[in-house]
Homo-oligomer: 190 residues x 2
């Protein structure tokens, strides 16, 4: 996905702790035209899988998941980190470590919107260690739904998430792969 | 906006405390096709105002703000409720009461993405008491940017937010107005 890679090359910043800051077009500020292009491409790659729900985690997964779901013409569900009062008493809840906050966060989905029989595509902004996505897989399994694919905008291949997620035996797609952030340089998968 | 009204009529639920639950298509689960239509209509109503930034608050403002910004062809910035480590040390921060959580929440924007000279359209899912939107206006003012309009998917006219926000002298648009949730009935503005 050349457009996304070009933006990372131009505006991505390497912070300490191996964090890639893309706050100007993915996270805090979002470029909606870029995000629609990314959603269209992710939808194309998973088009053959009869996806019935896109699942993501708030907050920064929402934009790419929404645009992917738009092109797949299916609803998108975002796991909440705090149970809102509109949710039923009984929910699916798992915990996952937060890469950018350093603590554990809860991921909560209402059984109203994730049910047995759904074919679930998980979409997130980053695929790094894979721990958030693993949490979303656990929610999918708890609901008795079927995981059919995993997609991300940006994959940090050096954090090993793909290997962990490969045990689920579903297609894993990322639009841009980054092999290293060492030496202040962003190195891309060719 | 008939499509949104029809969904509220069909799927909206009245909870205690005057909460209208629309978790099946706006909040926890989002209908991306509906949200795209809402964004197109909001963008049409504000098209003449030379908007350069759409501003919203995480989490449930993101979907309508993203689709509105897509049609206006401008970036969208969502105020964070917790300062991520990718943000600079010095930020714009205000506090606002949370309608659905009952406590005060922080709204934080980085000066990187909200600056003097920007023409800001605020978009949120609900316009109720107006307190979240007032917080976003304060962030806009703190940045020295110009507020040019306020839009929401659903307005609860009986909570008085429009009157409070009218002091800013900018157009206020909502796609569906609800005049009452009393007696277990959702009453709409004609």
């Amino acid at each position: 996905m050349n457009l996304l890679r070009e933006r990372i090359e131009k505006e991505g910043l390497i912070l300490k702790n191996g964090i890639l800051k893309v706050d100007g077009f993915v996270n805090h500020q979002v470029d909606p035209m870029l995000m629609y292009g990314c959603g269209e491409e992710l939808a194309r790659r998973f088009a053959h899988l009869n996806v019935t729900r896109v699942l993501t985690a708030e907050i920064s997964g929402i934009a790419p998941a929404l645009t992917t779901a738009f092109f797949l013409k299916v609803p998108v569900v975002y796991a909440r980190k705090v149970k809102p009062i509109t949710m039923p008493d009984t929910v699916y809840l798992t915990v996952a470590p937060s890469h950018t906050k350093g603590n554990m966060v809860e991921l909560i989905v209402s059984p109203e919107y994730l049910a047995r029989g759904e074919r679930v595509l998980i979409i997130d902004d980053f695929l790094a260690s894979g721990s958030t996505i693993q949490g979303l897989v656990r929610l999918t399994q708890a609901a008795g739904a079927t995981l059919v694919g995993i997609g991300a905008l940006i994959e940090k291949t050096f954090e090993g998430g793909r290997k962990i997620l490969s045990t689920y035996n579903v297609p894993i797609e990322s639009l841009v792969g980054i092999t290293s952030l060492e030496g202040g340089k962003i190195s891309f998968v060719d």
